[in-house]
């Protein structure tokens, strides 16, 4: 790409009048109803089905709930750091409610909705589509999610949720979460359908940008994961209300549901789009398009596959012990670490050969990628116990393991969760800043962005180390509360508290940055980062229908002068 030329002139895609997305189209101004529906008369957010506006709403609302979830987690950590008794809350049940609120809002209110929002806004632009498939459905999914999150808040406010005292509101909590799951599912159907069925002519699956591919794998993973959560909620609800189990587990079932999606390896599912965003940012902000495009797509797909497999194994272990005796989990966890490392190594070629500009998206991409790899490597430590069990059982050995290495069932997994979720949050901060120009037509403050990334990264590291260390010291997994624990555990709990505090500060600055940019100066032009994928050929924010004419692409980097055609070197 040479300087001094309009990005649209550099747009190497062939342009043709023939619309690629519809069989018959009366005229050029008419749009495919399924992809770009008519906006309401009011034209406001409530009635719009414009994918960029809906995605923007997901991101803005998700950011607020992300902050809320972290604050709830922080309060639970404050309570947990002081083992002398209950100060902030009255009893163990209230502590469990606070703890579960932190988990629910962090994941289902924050991380997942923001990722869905980014995908809703960006995927149609990246694949050269006039809009999102089932755009009205996507809008309905957002509003259903928002309403459902409100129901969950209401349930917590009236003593519902896990360990809640009012059965009616416990039931309402479960219903709210079922609707949250259904709405996220529906949004993911629209995203995956867009990638599969609404790509521009010439945009083969192996040419889709890395971020879009990450969102696609994430969406398919969601379609296979969230229904299990919904089924678990139904069963836990029945157990709560009717107590059908032989041994009354009662509301412990609801705690299990909260745990299921919040601990690794289930959380690796969230790592998939985060890595996609990281690689995308690395490619753009180093000025050197990702060279091993197809390889990275394959690795991201493999990560999604393995992460889902690991997820299934963790579900199957419920009721026995988290330690598995078949070795599959061990292999899956090991594979995720190797795959994550390979993805980063492949993207590292751009850092090495390009001219990196230290922007917030690049910083966030590198840091989140490294944190994910670190988390995946740390996760290996939890596999020592299952491996030894496996060897002892199947090879008649009698290896004695130090108690400190018996990590399953301890707060080691809290630390692991810190690494993975924290890395995802840092990646989200970078991703939102990278695409802010497209999502709401304004750039974000780079200084604030860098501070939020650094605070988030430091917080993630300290949070993770605190949880992992407490696990080595033998602290049981939350929400179990122990009194009179030793000073080592207390020190690690204080570290987790500090880490969460830093993460809250980072996300707080991120939310502030979003709202500052929303009320700030509207960006001009189309291309703040000199990207080489289709979204950078659109207006900021994109016009209705996204593209003036349907693009026809011939490579994975359609805006680049020297296309690599996505071929592996």
């Amino acid at each position: 790409m040479s300087d001094g030329h309009s990005p649209l002139l550099l747009f190497r895609c062939e342009v043709q009048e023939l619309m690629a997305l519809t069989e018959t189209r009366p005229d050029d101004t008419a749009s495919d109803e399924a992809l770009s529906p008519t906006q309401s008369v009011a034209g406001g957010l409530l009635g719009t089905a414009d994918h960029v506006a809906v995605g923007r709403a997901w991101v803005a609302a998700g950011s607020v709930f992300l902050l809320g979830g972290l604050v709830a987690g922080l309060l639970a950590a404050v309570e947990h750091a002081d083992t002398g008794g209950f100060d902030l809350v009255n009893n163990a049940n209230t502590f469990t409610q606070l703890w579960s609120a932190g988990r629910v809002f962090l994941l289902l209110g924050g991380v997942l909705p923001i990722l869905v929002g980014l995908a809703t806004s960006i995927v149609p632009l990246q694949v050269g589509s006039a809009g999102l498939a089932f755009a009205r459905g996507a809008a309905a999914a957002f509003w259903t999610w928002l309403l459902s999150i409100g129901v969950v808040i209401l349930a917590y406010a009236f003593d519902g949720g896990p360990a809640g005292g009012d059965t009616d509101f416990v039931v309402l909590w479960a219903l709210g979460l079922v609707l949250v799951g259904v709405s996220l599912l529906w949004a993911m159907v629209t995203i995956a359908t867009t990638v599969l069925g609404a790509r521009a002519e010439g945009m083969t699956l192996e040419r889709v940008p890395v971020a879009t591919w990450g969102f696609f794998v994430f969406s398919v993973g969601g379609l296979l994961t969230l229904p299990v959560m919904i089924a678990e909620l139904v069963m836990a609800y029945l157990d709560t209300k009717y107590g059908y189990l032989p041994t009354a587990e009662s509301r412990a079932g609801l705690v299990g549901v909260v745990n299921t999606l919040s601990i690794a390896p289930a959380l690796y599912w969230v790592a998939v789009p985060t890595l996609g965003l990281a690689v995308e940012a690395i490619g753009v902000h180093t000025g050197r398009a990702i060279r091993f495009h197809k390889t990275i797509l394959a690795l991201i797909g493999l990560l999604g596959f393995v992460a889902y497999g690991a997820d299934v194994y963790s579900f199957s272990s419920r009721g026995r012990s988290i330690a598995l005796d078949n070795g599959l989990m061990v292999v899956a966890i090991l594979a995720t670490a190797v795959v994550m490392l390979a993805i980063l190594a492949a993207a590292g070629d751009s850092v090495k050969g390009g001219k990196p500009k230290l922007t917030t998206p690049l910083l966030a991409g590198l840091v989140s990628g490294l944190l994910l790899v670190l988390g995946a490597i740390v996760a290996e430590l939890a596999q020592i116990d299952p491996v030894v069990n496996f060897i002892n059982k199947n090879f008649d050995a009698s290896i004695n393991l130090d108690d400190a290495l018996m990590l399953n069932g301890t707060s080691f997994h809290e630390g692991l969760r810190g690494f993975i979720l924290g890395a995802a949050i840092v990646g989200i901060i970078g991703g939102v800043e990278h695409f802010a120009h497209k999502v709401w037509g304004r750039t974000m403050n780079g200084g604030l962005g860098a501070i939020s990334v650094l605070a988030g990264a430091a917080g993630t590291l300290v949070w993770g180390v605190g949880g992992v260390g407490a696990g080595f010291a033998g602290q049981p997994m939350l929400p179990a509360v122990e009194s009179g624990v030793d000073s080592t555990i207390e020190a690690f709990n204080v570290a987790s508290l500090i880490g969460l505090g830093l993460l809250v500060a980072g996300v707080g600055i991120f939310v502030l940055n979003i709202f500052v940019s929303l009320i700030g100066r509207r960006g001009a032009g189309t291309e703040p980062w000199r990207g080489v994928t289709l979204e950078w050929a659109t207006d900021s924010p994109p016009r209705r229908g996204n593209f003036a004419t349907a693009p026809v692409v011939t490579s994975a980097t359609p805006l680049a002068d020297n296309s690599t055609d996505g071929e592996d070197a």
Binding site: A133, L224, M235
Partner: protein, 206 residues
């Protein structure tokens, strides 16, 4: 041999064929169906696992005393749903031939079979006599959760088919574009497949 070359018959400057409209509805239905299969499969596996736990804990018989699951109704429901598969395929095939009269008859019959299935399920539940709540309810909520979920899926499949039938009536679909009916038929097949999984796990193995 004629002097007319192929170039004269087909002009070189002939515009390329218009690309087919992407089958978004079919793709979306397939993805949603995958989610429904996973969700219902999870419910069913929870049911089977709970039953196994119950029997392993030596807590007595799985079915509460006085409750029996007759096989006549579940088998009749299976046959009804198999008939509905034929009528759904009939609907798609007739739409492909632009034979709207047959399409409407086939869609109507499919929906009627759906209602028949729902009615038979209601009759079966009344025969079983499972209390829905209270101290005697026991494991009844599990039955109602799984069977009720399938009824809900069946209702969704009927609504989907009805909407696509009406859209066909309105001219949205024709012999060249049967996407809507094809998607509805796909979801109907999934619904019937899920019934057979439930039929074996709940009604046959009891």
């Amino acid at each position: 041999m004629s002097d007319i070359s192929i170039r004269e018959i087909v002009p070189a400057a002939l515009a390329p064929a218009t690309p087919n409209r992407p089958r978004l509805l079919v793709i979306g239905t397939a993805l949603a169906s995958a989610a429904v299969i996973v969700g219902f499969g999870s419910l069913l596996s929870f049911y089977v696992r709970t039953r196994a736990l119950w029997l392993a804990s030596d807590s007595g018989t799985w079915l509460p005393s006085g409750v029996n699951i007759p096989l006549t109704q579940p088998n009749m429901m299976a046959i009804t749903l198999v008939f509905s598969l034929i009528t759904v395929v009939w609907a798609v095939a007739s739409m492909k031939s632009d034979d709207r009269s047959n399409t409407y008859i086939a869609v109507g019959l499919s929906i009627m079979f759906g209602f028949a299935y729902i009615a038979q399920t209601a009759y079966l539940l009344s025969l079983m006599g499972l209390p829905i709540a209270g101290d005697d309810a026991g494991r009844a909520p599990l039955f109602f959760a799984v069977i009720g979920s399938h009824l809900a899926i069946t209702g969704a499949a009927m609504a989907y088919l009805a909407i696509m039938g009406i859209r066909s009536l309105g001219g949205n679909y024709n012999a060249k574009d049967v996407e809507g009916l094809y998607g509805a038929a796909m979801f109907w097949f999934v619904t019937v497949a899920l019934y057979f999984a439930m039929w074996y796990a709940i009604y046959i193995t009891k």
